[in-house]
């Protein structure tokens, strides 16, 4: 009564195998785009200063001195919005969108009331009303100040700056542990990028302007790429790899020790990647992320970028230049 063909039909049907496919890889750079924003420090306290720098690239490589519009958005995200910022942050004319100037970098200061606006502290109540609901932390226990970036093509981006806010609504013991042991986030950094092909492993040298000749690869050749980062202590310490950090468990309201995940986003001006992103979860002790890159079938120069993002909002990147030849 039950045939194999019918079962397969059921499987196909139930899988909603009818989901469409898109040619929507975000890894290949065909037009100028903002790939990442790094803030330094990666986590700042209320009232603290931080700087922002953008990785803005195009088919010809990094775009120098891009005319990016930077702004701090002081609008809170409505409760019916699933995104990380209030959509009104992208409008113009709001007094809550504070311009930080134009350019490839910007400097800003975390508002002194950031932990009220975007953190665990309840804003002052209106007389006769309960206190407003505080912002919920992310899965790492963090809170973020919205930074919005507009590029010359009209594309908006956000680059939230993690802010250090003492937890609210916890016991003194918990507060003491967090205050003493929490180490603000540090941006991750790429230790190395290696490639493996039929000719064996090789280290890809960053295109840092030091005059190093770009690596030459065969057109159409497949490479296993591996990006690595530093090994970090298992206790909370500043580190450019997957850091261990203290967090407040929202369920038990106790302090827990977690480890950052690190995700590598892969970008290139040519060829194709097997995955747009790859990485290691917080429970995965690995120190690298791998991907498969297929070189373009034409000769020329290919720019390649790897952006590392840790779970607490830290960002680091490195650019590489490759030559393909037939």
């Amino acid at each position: 009564m039950v045939s194999r063909a019918a079962l397969v039909a059921i499987a196909v049907a139930l899988s909603s195998a009818c989901a469409p496919t898109f040619d929507d890889s975000t890894s290949i750079i065909s037009a100028p785009r903002l790939l990442a924003v790094q803030s330094t420090p990666a986590e700042a306290v209320a009232g603290g200063a931080f700087s922002l720098s953008a990785l803005y690239v195009g088919p010809q490589g990094v775009q120098t001195a891009p005319q990016l519009d930077w702004a701090t958005c002081l609008l809170q995200t409505p409760s019916d919005q699933p995104g990380p910022v209030n959509p009104a942050c992208f409008g113009s004319g709001s007094s809550d969108v504070v311009s930080l100037g134009k350019g490839g970098t910007a400097n800003a200061t975390v508002p002194s009331d950031a932990c009220l606006l975007f953190g665990p502290n309840s804003p002052p109540p209106t007389p006769g009303q309960p206190s407003p609901r505080p912002t919920d932390p992310d899965a790492t226990g963090g809170y973020y100040l919205p930074i919005v970036v507009g590029d010359p093509a009209g594309q908006w981006s956000v680059a939230p700056e993690r802010i250090t806010c003492p937890p609210s609504g916890v016991t003194q013991d918990v507060l003491a542990v967090i205050s003493a042991g929490y180490v603000p986030n540090v941006n991750p950094a790429i230790a190395s990028l290696s490639s493996t092909s039929g000719s064996g492993p090789a280290t890809v040298v960053p295109a840092d302007g030091s005059g190093v000749q770009p690596m030459t690869v065969s057109a159409g050749q497949q490479f296993a790429l591996s990006v690595s980062w530093a090994s970090c202590p298992t206790s909370p310490q500043a580190c450019s790899g997957a850091e261990t950090y203290l967090s407040l468990d929202s369920t038990t309201h106790t302090v827990v020790t977690l480890r950052e995940s690190i995700v590598a986003s892969w970008y290139a001006t040519g060829g194709s990647f097997a995955s747009d992103r790859s990485g290691r979860s917080g429970v995965d002790p690995g120190l690298d992320a791998t991907n498969i890159w297929t070189a373009p079938r034409t000769s020329g120069v290919v720019h390649l970028w790897v952006v590392l993002r840790d779970a607490r909002g830290g960002v680091g990147w490195q650019g590489y230049t490759l030559k393909t030849q037939l």
């Binding site: 009564m1 194999r4 019918a6 079962l7 039909a9 059921i10 499987a11 049907a13 139930l14 899988s15 909603s16 195998a17 009818c18 469409p20 898109f22 929507d24 975000t26 903002l34 924003v37 409505p78 409760s79 019916d80 699933p82 995104g83 990380p84 209030n86 959509p87 992208f90 109540p125 309960p130 407003p132 609901r133 919920d136 932390p137 992310d138 899965a139 594309q155 908006w156 981006s157 956000v158 680059a159 939230p160 916890v170 016991t171 929202s250 369920t251 995700v263 986003s265 097997a274 995955s275 992103r277 790859s278 990485g279 979860s281 917080g282 791998t290 952006v307 993002r309 909002g313 960002v315």
Partner: protein, 882 residues
């Protein structure tokens, strides 16, 4: 007899005869004219009514005949002549009557004398005074309540009649007064009862009789007849489908309860959702009762199967709105599942199997008073698929895993009482995983749900004809959704203990009033646990696109909610105008007590403060049915409805512990023309408004413990049409069409938007034809407007995650394209001895049309396409019953 005669007094006639130059003239006396004087005119002392000619009744009007009467000196009439004719029939009647008149003789000169006068005889047609009564009714099997055909019903002085296929009989001309009603027939001993009938009134009765062969031989002389209240009229708007008809509907794979999806007023649910969307209401606002036992769902997850074995079901009835006061705690529709009777003898059962699951049902009667039924179903697709495909297919495909079981023990301590102990259990589990090289993009989802119920049902029919039903039930509901999108968790778990008590009493207190009164109580203790973002899972009215990662914000709350209410209710079915009009006013008084263990979000070591709130809902209901003709019924209904908020919405972190009762008002009217067994047409116009709906706080930063507020309003309006031919010899089918609009607003005065479950047009056509030789061919065609969705008008890049986020346009301002699907079912029935076998092939979407079910977007939200629904899907199965 409709007859009335105007009799002019003789004196007046005499005066007329003397004074009227036209119509009367003084008769010529026997003496010479002028020699005598009329000293006393004749006086009519014996009047004879002339019958109104039957041949003239059809004309609908009366007539006047002017006669010349010759009256003798003794007062008799010896001559009658027509002076002014009104036609032969009237003339003859008038002349015949006048000849028998007797007068006090006229006196001429003080002495009795003969005389001639003119007499005007008027015939006036009028309605006859009622002189007879009507007795109509139905004979049913006392055990099964099924109608009995072919039963002889005799009424003293009125003859006898035989009940039709619906068990109905009727006597149109019965003399008023007491009568003995005798009932006899195959399988029945002669039984008698008495009825007192009133002239000009119709008395409608229902007799529940016990079949002789269902009783032990020693008891067969002790038969009785129970005069039951009239069969409960359907709610003012409802559609009921018998199980035998429902299981043959294409697309249901023989599942009786899946027929609800094709009834008028029901929107087409998205594939795999199993949701019941009735008149545009939220699925959770429509409630399901199985023999008065509330259950949380009608279908297993995905909607592939119902939670009750089809062989247990007698019928399913959908009431989209305007229902009576016996049900409450819901502002949407109502689905009632009636469990069927257990056969009178022997062991019966069925086994069925198809690609999804197998099911079995066994019914056994151990004596005339004790019977048992056990049924169950178990899915096995999750076990079969890995055998034929990759072993880890379950990680990628959300394969439903479910089972359900039901049991009933029936004890009938007397012929008029039944006690039933029953149990239900249902369990669902669905899990899937989307792997990724990106740990922040790994998706895992597990959704487990289920419920259990035990109940005791006591039915008693008293000697005075009243019916009493008491149904206490106890059970649990469980629902656990655990979703992880990378590091972002979403957990929502609600476990509830549910106790309910429904008790009703119903009696025909007079020939024209049937009273219903009862109590409907429910106690629910829910423990919820929720973790994740406030917007995950999304609510209706949120900006959201399918597949979007949940916001990376994590909150947590858990708590206990107790919601209890015990509602007395009453209604009266008042039959007036000879039963042509039924006015059914009712009222339900529903006091709610809701307690939460936490009024504010947890804060440090501050102890939680609970909150108890009491709300009272007074819910008047009214329905009126007018049946001016046997095949024409007009009906209107109105009612107010309330329901408590969902337990998880009372969370101090994710919701609002002070949410009040949601309320709705239903107004509807319609007409039914024809009879379902031949062909019926039913049209209903409806309008419902709802208030105090739980919606997101409109504040950019909601106040503490007020993430939700009770300001939402809604409205739903439309018209539904049903053309139906019920199952008869070879064919059944129906066509339903619903035109509706369902909208919501976040607060009074705020603009309305199309509700996420709004479907403007829903058309469903179902037909099944018995081809003979056991073959049956059926088809189902469905068309539905797509659900509204919020468009994505742009996107922005999130530098923190390296992903894109959507920018939304106006809420629910675009729609998924229309749904069109044709399903076909072919079955073959045959018998092997006492065993019946049915093999069927149910092919869904025979045209293999790719119906869009949901929008999906590319990673950067620059491209939009559709997830399409099930491709052509043949499901073969078989059912063996005995």
């Amino acid at each position: 007899m409709n007859r009335r005669v105007f009799l002019p007094c003789v004196a007046a006639a005499a005066v007329l005869a003397v004074s009227s130059p036209v119509l009367a003239q003084e008769a010529a006396p026997p003496a010479p004219a002028g020699a005598h004087k009329l000293t006393r005119p004749p006086r009519l002392v014996t009047f004879i009514e002339a019958p109104f000619p039957e041949s003239e009744k059809a004309a609908g009007h009366g007539a006047t005949v002017v006669l010349e009467l010759g009256i003798t000196a003794t007062g008799t009439v010896d001559k009658v002549a027509v002076v002014q004719s009104a036609g032969a029939a009237f003339d003859e009647a008038a002349v015949g009557a006048a000849r028998a008149f007797v007068f006090e003789p006229a006196e001429v000169d003080g002495k009795p004398a003969a005389i001639r006068i003119l007499y005007q005889y008027e015939f006036v047609l009028k309605a006859e005074a009622p002189t007879t009564a009507i007795l109509a009714g139905q004979i049913r099997d006392q055990r099964t309540r099924k109608p009995l055909a072919g039963v002889q019903v005799a009424v003293t002085g009125a003859g006898s009649a035989t009940t039709d296929a619906e068990g109905r009989f009727r006597f149109d001309t019965v003399a008023p007064g007491p009568h003995t009603v005798s009932i006899s027939g195959a399988g029945l001993a002669d039984v008698e009862t008495s009825e007192t009938l009133e002239a000009g009134r119709q008395t409608t009765v229902t007799y529940d009789v016990e079949l002789q062969d269902s009783k032990p031989a020693e008891d067969r002389d002790d038969l009785e007849i129970v005069v039951a209240p009239p069969a409960m009229e359907k709610q003012v708007i409802s559609t009921q489908v018998a199980a035998d008809e429902a299981r043959r509907v294409p697309g249901t794979q023989g599942d009786v309860l899946k027929v609800v999806e094709n009834l008028p007023g029901v929107a087409r649910a998205s594939v795999g959702s199993g949701q019941l969307v009735v008149w545009g209401a939220a699925p959770e606002d429509t409630h399901v009762y199985v023999d008065d036992v509330p259950v949380p769902t009608l279908y297993h997850q995905g909607g592939f199967r119902s939670v009750i074995h089809s062989d247990m079901v007698s019928s399913v009835e959908l009431m989209p709105g305007g229902w009576g006061p016996d049900y409450g705690r819901g502002i949407g529709g109502l689905v009632k599942v009636d469990l069927g009777p257990i056969p009178k003898d022997g062991v019966h059962g069925s086994v069925s199997s198809d690609l999804l699951d197998s099911a079995a049902d066994v019914r056994a009667r151990f004596s005339d008073r004790v019977a048992v039924e056990v049924a169950g179903r178990k899915s096995y697709l999750d076990a079969l698929l890995p055998v034929f495909t990759s072993s880890n297919v379950g990680q990628y495909i959300p394969i439903p895993r479910y089972y359900d079981a039901q049991t009933r023990v029936l004890w009938e301590p007397s012929r008029t009482a039944r006690v039933e102990l029953g149990g239900l259990i249902s369990s669902d589990a669905v899990s899937d995983e989307v792997p990724s090289t990106d740990p922040t993009n790994v998706q895992k989802q597990t959704h487990d749900s289920g419920f259990r119920r035990v109940w005791l049902r006591y039915f008693k029919q008293t000697a005075d004809g009243a019916e009493m039903v008491v149904v206490p039930s106890l059970g649990t509901n469980t629902d656990s959704l655990v979703d992880a999108f990378g590091p972002v968790p979403t957990e929502l778990e609600v476990n509830a203990t549910v106790a309910s008590l429904r008790a009703s009493w119903r009696k025909r207190v007079t020939n024209w009033i049937t009273l219903t009164a009862g109590v409907d109580g429910q106690f629910t203790q829910s423990h919820f646990r929720r973790t994740g973002s406030t917007t995950s899972p999304p609510r209706q009215g949120d900006d959201y696109v399918f597949g979007q990662a949940p916001p990376n914000q994590v909150a947590h709350d858990d708590g206990t909610i107790i919601a209890s209410s015990i509602a007395p209710y009453a209604s009266a079915d008042v039959a007036i105008a000879d039963g042509h009009v039924h006015v059914v006013p009712g009222v339900r008084f529903d006091p709610y007590l809701v307690t939460t263990n936490r009024q504010y979000p947890p804060f440090g070591t501050t102890p939680a403060h609970g909150l108890a709130s009491e709300s009272t809902a007074l819910e008047p209901r009214l329905s009126v049915r007018w049946t001016p003709l046997p095949a024409l019924t007009w009906k209107v209904g109105w009612g107010q409805y309330h329901e408590p908020p969902a337990p998880a919405d009372l969370s101090a972190v994710f919701g609002n512990p002070t949410l009040g009762l949601e309320s709705a008002e239903h107004i509807l009217g319609g007409v039914v023309v024809g009879t379902p067994d031949i062909l019926s047409f039913e049209a209903t116009v409806f309008h419902s408004t709802s208030q105090n709906l739980a919606v997101r706080s409109p504040l950019p930063t909601p106040l503490a413990a007020q993430a939700l507020v009770s300001t939402g309003i809604g409205r739903s309006r439309g018209v539904q049409v049903l053309v139906r031919k019920q199952l008869s010899k070879r064919f059944f089918g129906w066509i339903t069409y619903t035109l509706s609009q369902s909208q919501r607003a976040v607060a009074p005065g705020a603009p309305y938007y199309d509700y996420g479950f709004d479907q403007t047009h829903v058309l469903s056509a179902v037909a099944s034809l018995d081809l003979g030789h056991g073959f049956e061919l059926g088809g189902r065609f469905r068309y539905a407007t797509g659900y509204p969705r919020t468009p994505v008008t742009g996107s922005y890049f999130d530098g923190k995650t390296g992903t894109f986020e959507p920018i939304f346009g106006p809420l629910n301002s675009i729609r998924i394209p229309d749904f069109v699907q044709l399903d076909v079912r072919v079955s073959k029935r045959f018998a092997i001895g006492d065993t019946n076998v049915e093999a069927y092939l149910d092919v869904q979407n025979v045209t293999n049309r790719g119906n869009p079910e949901e929008f999906v977007y590319s990673l950067d939200y620059t491209q939009r396409r559709y997830i399409t629904g099930l491709p052509i899907l043949p499901v073969a199965g078989a059912r063996v019953s005995w």
